[in-house]
Structures are given as structure tokens and as C-alpha cells.
């Protein structure tokens, strides 16, 4: 068999955990090979070894049948291996073009030659339909475009083995479709792709074969065409997974959260949120659906106090919190699972335990006269680790930065649910989670609802929206264009609302 890359019996230890335990992965030329596994199963670690970021503690790597050593990403690059990381690694105040050529600059007489590089980048961008603006700064472009920059970076270096670590977790459904097409196009050119994702639909759509990992061990490799989604998820989790959400009809109570005429001006003078009004009652899950960039993020920032609204009022449990501080809102019972887990959700250099008390460290029980109660912090952390199955090398002492992406997300969700908020604003709560964890988090949200909490869910994923919500508000260009019940609409109709081609009563 013609394998471009073989990783044989790879072992990798981290403090307190064996992240890869005798894993073997063989990549055929020209295939899309999916890598599936629970959060913390060791997927990113395995790929980082292939890319030279970590050195394995055992095992070997072969390229085209020959054993190779990959000491650092430069070695990987020389072997034609490129990687798009789970959390992008771009220089934020550099332009797109500068980021693409960074480290592979053409230099003549000690001076940078941008002209040729630009031509090559534009040609690649044309050929693979990777639309980018070469002169835009990274900090000003969308995540979708940042990802295209990462892909161009690999192509610019003529890499032929491309690693995608959860590329779709941060993309909108439209961008995902586009990416899938691009990936197909790349393999048609003879490139080989390793593709990590938690979404079985995507594996079904593009992958040829799929290797499954569980708790650091290799479970097996299957042909995607002859395997069902259920079989794959069972291989991965070790039990049957329930994809549908079990929930009783909602029993909405009094209004817990009420937004009136909320307006926020954007940087270009246009209203990014325009006269938005809605209520969320106790005992219901209200979902804000929409294509990314239609004002959902700004709306949430205003509700949680991270940004000031220009106009409008926010009432919570009968109190006007329009101008309250973030601390006052939190202590009044507002929970928030933020969209950007690294920016807002975690202090990455704090331990898991210190992150678990990020919102409660100042409350009685966690401190006395300003002195922190570490015993209580560790107790709570251990409970949450247990309950939410947060996996890490050293339990509460693990530095958050070293945790796997999905486990970081689980930690945030655990913390916000633990504070037992009356109103929970959950933005993409299951982003980057494995199917088992998604099932669990969904159940937690439904339980919170049934316990009389008001849940405001913001999600880009239509499946999640349809499954979980009791009421759907569709946002388009900063306005709420539809207020519907999931039973009364089809996914197609929802799509039309989201695209702005249909308007209901708001």
C-alpha cells in the first residue's frame, strides 16, 4: 500500500498523563483521513508530533516508507507537512500577505522581495478559491478568512501533507461547506489530508477513512463509506450516543430577562444591533439563530456588560441592569458562556482550579476577610471535574493552557452552570466538544430550564438550534426578523430567515 505518512506505535507522556499510548496512523496518498476521538483523546498531541512541535517518547514516523526525524516545524515543512492549528497561530498586527510568507521569505541582497510572493499567493488564492485580502491586518478579518490564510500558508510552502486540527469548530455552516469543497479540491491535486473534527456529518461528507482514538489509545480505522455515524461514535465513546435531545415541552413562567429597543452603533456608523426587543421567561430556552456577524456577538456583549449599548434597556428579574457593572450583573444571577474561550473564558496561565472560581472567588465561602479559601476551591473543582468529566493531566492543578481545547470548553461550561445563574447566556456552548460531551451539556441546559432558569442560547448550528430551543429568534443585519417555534418551521425556512430573504413578525 502506498502510504505517504506512517506514524507507528507513537507514545507521548505529559505530566500526569499518557496522551498517546501506542498509536499507529497510516495516511494514504491523496486521501482525506479523519481523526476522531473524545476531548482529550490525544488527537492534537499526535498531530503536533507529526508537525514537530512535540517529540514522541516512543515510536517512529515514516515518510514514503523511509524513517524520518522531525525535530521542529522546519523539519516538518521540509518534508512537506503543514498544519492548521486548533487555535490559529497568526501574527495579529501583520498583514495577511506578511503572515503567509513569514518564515519562508524570498530575500535578495538582504532585502525582502514582496512582489513575487504576492504573485504566488494571489495565484494560489485564485486556484483554490481561497478568497483573502492580502493587505488586510489579521486582527481586522473574520475567523473564516484567518483560516484561509492558514491554508494558504501551507500551500505557499508547497506542503503536500496537510493537517487540519478542528478547522470547522470556528466556522459558520456556509464556511464549512466551502472548506469541504476546498479540501476535496486539494486531494484531487494529489495532496493528502489529516482532518480532525467532532462532527460526524463532516466526516461522512468528505473523509475516505477514519481512525478512532479513545483515552490516548488507538481503537481502529474504518472506511467511512461502510460505517454509520452511530457506529463511529460508539467506537469513539465506547457506548451508544443519543443524538436527539430528550426534553419535555417547556413550561414558561414569569419573564426573567427582558430587552427593549437595544441599539448599538458599529465602528462604521451603521447600527450593528438595531432596536432589538425580546423577553426570555423562566423555564424556556430561547435561541438566537443567524449567520455569524449579524449582530449576535455585539448583542451578547451588551447584555453581559462587556460593551455599552447606545440605547435601550435591559431588565433582569425586575431590576434595570442596563448600566450595571459586570460584577453586579453576575452577582444578580447572570451566567455567560462566552464565544471566545481564550479571550474571555479562561485565564490560560491560571490552573484549572483557579479558573473554576473566576466568578465566585469573591463570594463568602471562597474567601474570608479577603483571604482565599483554597480548600473550598479545590473541593468545588474536584466536584466539577467529576461531574463534567473534565480531563487533564493533573486535575485541578493543571495549567489551563495545557488542556485540550474541548476540555477547556467543558471547564467554562461547568463553571457557569455551577454558579447556578437564573439567566444563562450560552454562546456556542458545545463548540469543539465531542458527541458524548455535547449530549451531556445539552442535558445540563435542559435541566437548568426545567429548574426554572431562563436560558438564552446563541448558536450557529441549526441542528443545535432546532433540537434544543423552545423558541427561536432569527437575527439578520442587527435586527430580529423572526420569532418562531422549532415545531412550526423547517430548517429550510429558518435558512431563508437567516439569509434575509424572508421576514416574519418580530
Amino acid at each position: 500500500m502506498d502510504y505517504v505518512i506512517e506514524m507507528l506505535h507513537i507514545v507521548k507522556d505529559f505530566p500526569g498523563i499518557r496522551a498517546n499510548d501506542d498509536i499507529t496512523l497510516q495516511l494514504r496518498r491523496g486521501e482525506i483521513h479523519a481523526l476522531l476521538g473524545e476531548n482529550g483523546a490525544g488527537k492534537s498531541t499526535l498531530m503536533s508530533i507529526l508537525f514537530g512541535l512535540y517529540q514522541p517518547d516512543g515510536g517512529s514516523i515514516r515518510k514514503d516508507g523511509k524513517e524520518v526525524r522531525i525535530n521542529d516545524p522546519n523539519d516538518a515543512n521540509a518534508l512537506g507537512i503543514g498544519m492548521v492549528h486548533q487555535h490559529f497561530k497568526l501574527v495579529h498586527n501583520f498583514t495577511v500577505l506578511e503572515n503567509i510568507i513569514l518564515g519562508a521569505e524570498t530575500v535578495k541582497n538582504g532585502r525582502l522581495i514582496m512582489g513575487e510572493a504576492r504573485k504566488k499567493v494571489m495565484a494560489l488564492s485564485e486556484k483554490y478559491h481561497l478568497k483573502v485580502d492580502p493587505d488586510a491586518k489579521i486582527e481586522d478579518i473574520t475567523v473564516g478568512m484567518q483560516q484561509r490564510v492558514e491554508i494558504l500558508k501551507m500551500l505557499y510552502r508547497d506542503n503536500e501533507i496537510l493537517i487540519f486540527d478542528e478547522p470547522t469548530a470556528v466556522l459558520t455552516p456556509q464556511e464549512i461547506d466551502e472548506l469541504m469543497k476546498i479540501m476535496k479540491g486539494l486531494t484531487a491535486e494529489g495532496k493528502s489530508i489529516l482532518f480532525i473534527t467532532h462532527k460526524l456529518n463532516e466526516i461522512k461528507a468528505v473523509a475516505d477513512r477514519c481512525s478512532v482514538l479513545r483515552k490516548g489509545r488507538y481503537i481502529g480505522t474504518v472506511d467511512v463509506a461502510d460505517t454509520t455515524k452511530e457506529e463511529m461514535s460508539e467506537m469513539m465513546v465506547g457506548r451508544k450516543v443519543n443524538f436527539a435531545v430528550d426534553k419535555a415541552p417547556a413550561q414558561p413562567g414569569e419573564v426573567a430577562f427582558s430587552v427593549k429597543d437595544l441599539t448599538m452603533r458599529g465602528p462604521h456608523g451603521k447600527n450593528v444591533v438595531n432596536d432589538v426587543s425580546f423577553d426570555v421567561r423562566r423555564g424556556e430556552i430561547v435561541c438566537i439563530a443567524g449567520i455569524d456577524g449579524n449582530g449576535q456577538s455585539e448583542l451578547v456583549y451588551a447584555l453581559t456588560g462587556l460593551m455599552k449599548q447606545d440605547r435601550g434597556t435591559i431588565m433582569m428579574k425586575g431590576h434595570d441592569i442596563s448600566h450595571a457593572t459586570i460584577r453586579a450583573r453576575n452577582d444578580h444571577g447572570l451566567g455567560h458562556i462566552p464565544e471566545d474561550r481564550h479571550r474571555y473564558g479562561l485565564v490560560l496561565d491560571y490552573s484549572l482550579a483557579e479558573n473554576m472560581v473566576l466568578k465566585s472567588y469573591h463570594k463568602p465561602g471562597f474567601q474570608k476577610h479577603g483571604f482565599r479559601n483554597f480548600t473550598r476551591m479545590n473541593e468545588v473543582t474536584d466536584q466539577l471535574i467529576e461531574r463534567f468529566d473534565i480531563r487533564s493531566g493533573q486535575g485541578g492543578r493543571t495549567v489551563a493552557r495545557s488542556m485540550s481545547g474541548g476540555n477547556q470548553q467543558k471547564a467554562i461550561v461547568a463553571r457557569e452552570i455551577f454558579t447556578d445563574p437564573d439567566v444563562l447566556i450560552a454562546v456556542q456552548p458545545t463548540r469543539g466538544l465531542d458527541v458524548g460531551a455535547i449530549e451531556y451539556i445539552h442535558k445540563q441546559l435542559v435541566d437548568a430550564r426545567d429548574a426554572g432558569k431562563a436560558v438564552l442560547l446563541v448558536s450557529l448550528e441549526l441542528d443545535e438550534v432546532m433540537n434544543l430551543s423552545d423558541r427561536i429568534l432569527v437575527m439578520f443585519e442587527g435586527e430580529i426578523v423572526a420569532d418562531v417555534r422549532p415545531g412550526d418551521v423547517t430548517v429550510q425556512e429558518l435558512g431563508l430567515y437567516m439569509a434575509g430573504s424572508k421576514r416574519g413578525k418580530a
Binding site: R327, Y350, R372
Partner: protein, 381 residues
């Protein structure tokens, strides 16, 4: 099941102290080479003198070491504390000199203060003014987003020129010597019993070391800062803001106030350093009216780096640098020019500043070794 491997508690500690040790050793080697070049015959003897530091002169010398370590510890704490909260306090110099001015002025003008209050109040004045001096960059940073380094450097110059001007127009100016007058002896920091330990006999004449209760103050400050950073909710907030301001805001922490408070506390520590330096007997230090920034403020930076910004580590690194300085003082006995010792100390400090780079080099070497081991295993297969 995943296999648990043993945690690396002690290994982690060693790994964090190692770069400081390497920095020191490389610095000393470099110093030795300079000794060899300038006077080969006495180089070994010279190195010994440096390493002995204060011990060259028995307990008296040790007392001198601790005396000179006192302001180093305080400015080191000032810089290290700011580091821990994500700020670079390069303004210790200005905070120190304004604090010193406040202390001297209060000591001279409030000589009606009874008993120990005559030196306690000047120290408090210095802490207050140093804190104010730190508050300015803190405010600029938190309200306007101005980088604290720029604001601190400006405050250093404003402090230096401002103090020079104020000295000249006030009654604490000694025109003849172009420096501040000596503070009343009741305002000089008492020796606090330390003199009975650190002294030497010249015939039957006792010479006491200059060490005073300032050293206690520095050590207490280190303990307070340590407790503040590791045990209190306030320290938790300050560190969180240092690591990630957005997440701190998200958590409901008033991150503007935190930045301000960090700079104020850093300034207070440097102000205290100014007080303990200049609240001295008449043979002690005086502020010279010259247009040069107070270097003691900048010495806090290497002290903090060498102590890895850990308050307790800073006590030791401050003592260590003072120890070397004392060694340099005694080196003069051996026909070495005083400049040589400055170069050697400078080298050690320089390497300390690069201790983080050293740490990275160690990590890279370890990776290489690990990689080689893997290759070895691979070939065996």
C-alpha cells in the same frame, strides 16, 4: 486507562531556579576572565574576595551587605510585584527619589514629632509620595491605554528634575555640598538591636555596621507582598489582570482599578526604598542635586529578574547582589580598580536579565536530548 506518571514538584522548582543559578555562574566566569586580563597574578585571590563578599570583614561586613541589600530588595519587590501583575515598572527610579525627598523634607520640617514617630512619619510620607508617583502611569495606562513604560520613564525625569528644584527652594538644601542636609539624628532609622550582632573591634574601639531596621522593613514588605499575591482575593485579581485583562473583565474584576492599584503598590515599595536609603545618620547618604536618574531604581530590575519575581526569591537575590557589591568594595585592597567590579557586577546582572533566554535554551537542549533518545530507540527497532 491513561497511565499516570509522577508529578514533577521538586523538578519544577529546580527547573525554575536553574536559570538564575546559570546566570550567576556564567556572570562569575565572565568576571573571572576580566580579573585575569586586568591582573592575572591576583585573579584567583580576587575571585575569592568577590565570592566572600561581606565576609571579608566578618560580621561587620555582613551587616554592610544587608544594609546595602535593603533598598535593592525594596526596589526589586517593586519591579517584581509589577511583573507579576503584568506591568513593567521602569519608574522605580522616580518613585524612589520623590519618596526620598518626601522623607527628608518631613524629617527636617517635622522635628517636633515625638520618639519613633520622627522616623515613622517620614517613611509613611515616602510611601505615600512614591505611591502617587506610581499612580500617574497607572492612571494613564488604565484610563487612556498609554503604555506604562513610556509614562514611567517620563515620571522618572519629572521626579528627578522636580526633586532637584524642590530641594533648592526648600530648607533642606546644603548649598556648599550641593546636596540635601542631614536629617536630625532622631529621624535616622534606629539600629534596632542589629548593631550588637554586626560590628567589629578596632583595638578596643567598637565599630558598628550601618545596618538598621530598614532591613526588617524590607523583609516584612517581602512577606506582605508574598501573602498578598498568593493568599488574597486582591492578589488573585491583580494577577488575573496581568495574565488576561479581557477575562478579568469578564469575571467582573474592575481591571482599570487593578492596573492602578498595581502601580500604586509598586510605587509605594520604591518610595519606601527611598526612605530607608536617606533616613540615615549624618555620615550616610544624601540626595545630590545632579541631573542623573537615581540608579538604585534601575537596580531593582535585575534583582527582580534574578529572583524570578518571587518576593522571597527577591530577598535572596537582593542580598546576593549586595554581597557581590561588598566583595567589589574589598577587591580594592588588591590593586583592582573599582570600575572592574562594576563591570563584573554588570555582567552578572546582564546575564540575569537574560536568564529567561537561558531558560529557553535549557528547554531546547532538553528537547534535543529527548529527540536523540527517541532516535536511538527508533534505530533499535
Amino acid at each position: 486507562m491513561m497511565k499516570k506518571t509522577r508529578g514533577s514538584g521538586l523538578g519544577g522548582f529546580a527547573a525554575s531556579v536553574l536559570p538564575s543559578l546559570i546566570a550567576i555562574i556564567v556572570g562569575l566566569l565572565f568576571g573571572f576572565i576580566i580579573l585575569l586580563i586586568s591582573n592575572p597574578a591576583q585573579a584567583v585571590q580576587g575571585l575569592k574576595v568577590i565570592l566572600l563578599g561581606g565576609f571579608n570583614d566578618g560580621l561587620f561586613g555582613v551587616g554592610q551587605t544587608l544594609y546595602y541589600a535593603t533598598p535593592l530588595i525594596l526596589t526589586g519587590l517593586s519591579v517584581g510585584f509589577a511583573f507579576k501583575t503584568g506591568l513593567f515598572n521602569i519608574g522605580a527610579s522616580g518613585q524612589l527619589i520623590t519618596g526620598a525627598f518626601a522623607a527628608i523634607w518631613t524629617a527636617v520640617n517635622c522635628d517636633w514629632l515625638p520618639g519613633p514617630l520622627h522616623w515613622i512619619v517620614p517613611i509613611l510620607a515616602a510611601i505615600l509620595v512614591g505611591g502617587l508617583w506610581g499612580a500617574v502611569p497607572g492612571l494613564f495606562k488604565s484610563l487612556l491605554g498609554v503604555n506604562e513604560v513610556i509614562a514611567c520613564i517620563m515620571m522618572n525625569y519629572i521626579g528627578m528634575y522636580g526633586v532637584n528644584y524642590l530641594i533648592k527652594i526648600s530648607n533642606i538644601y546644603d548649598k556648599l555640598k550641593n546636596q540635601t542636609v542631614s536629617v536630625p539624628s532622631s529621624a535616622a532609622l534606629p539600629n534596632g538591636g542589629l548593631e550588637h550582632l554586626f560590628y567589629k573591634m578596632r583595638g578596643n574601639f567598637v565599630r558598628f555596621s550601618s545596618i538598621n531596621i530598614g532591613f526588617y522593613i524590607a523583609v516584612i514588605a517581602a512577606v506582605v507582598i508574598y501573602v498578598l499575591l498568593t493568599k488574597t482575593t486582591f492578589g488573585y485579581e491583580l494577577k488575573a489582570c496581568g495574565y488576561n485583562r479581557d477575562a478579568s473583565r469578564f469575571a467582573g474584576i474592575n481591571e482599570k482599578r487593578s492596573v492602578l492599584m498595581s502601580m500604586v503598590i509598586a510605587g509605594m515599595l520604591s518610595g519606601a526604598a527611598g526612605a530607608v536609603m536617606y533616613l540615615a545618620k549624618s555620615d550616610g547618604l544624601h540626595i545630590d542635586v545632579i541631573e542623573v536618574l537615581a540608579t538604585q531604581g534601575f537596580n531593582g530590575i535585575p534583582v527582580a529578574l534574578l529572583g524570578l519575581s518571587n518576593p522571597i526569591g527577591i530577598v535572596f537575590s537582593g542580598i546576593f547582589i549586595a554581597h557581590l557589591n561588598q566583595g567589589g568594595y574589598y577587591l580594592q585592597k588588591l590593586n583592582y580598580m573599582p570600575e572592574i567590579i562594576d563591570i563584573i557586577i554588570g555582567a552578572i546582572i546582564y546575564f540575569a536579565a537574560f536568564s529567561l533566554i537561558v531558560r529557553n535554551v535549557i528547554a531546547a537542549l532538553a528537547r534535543r536530548r529527548e529527540a536523540k533518545a527517541v532516535q536511538g530507540k527508533g534505530n533499535e527497532r
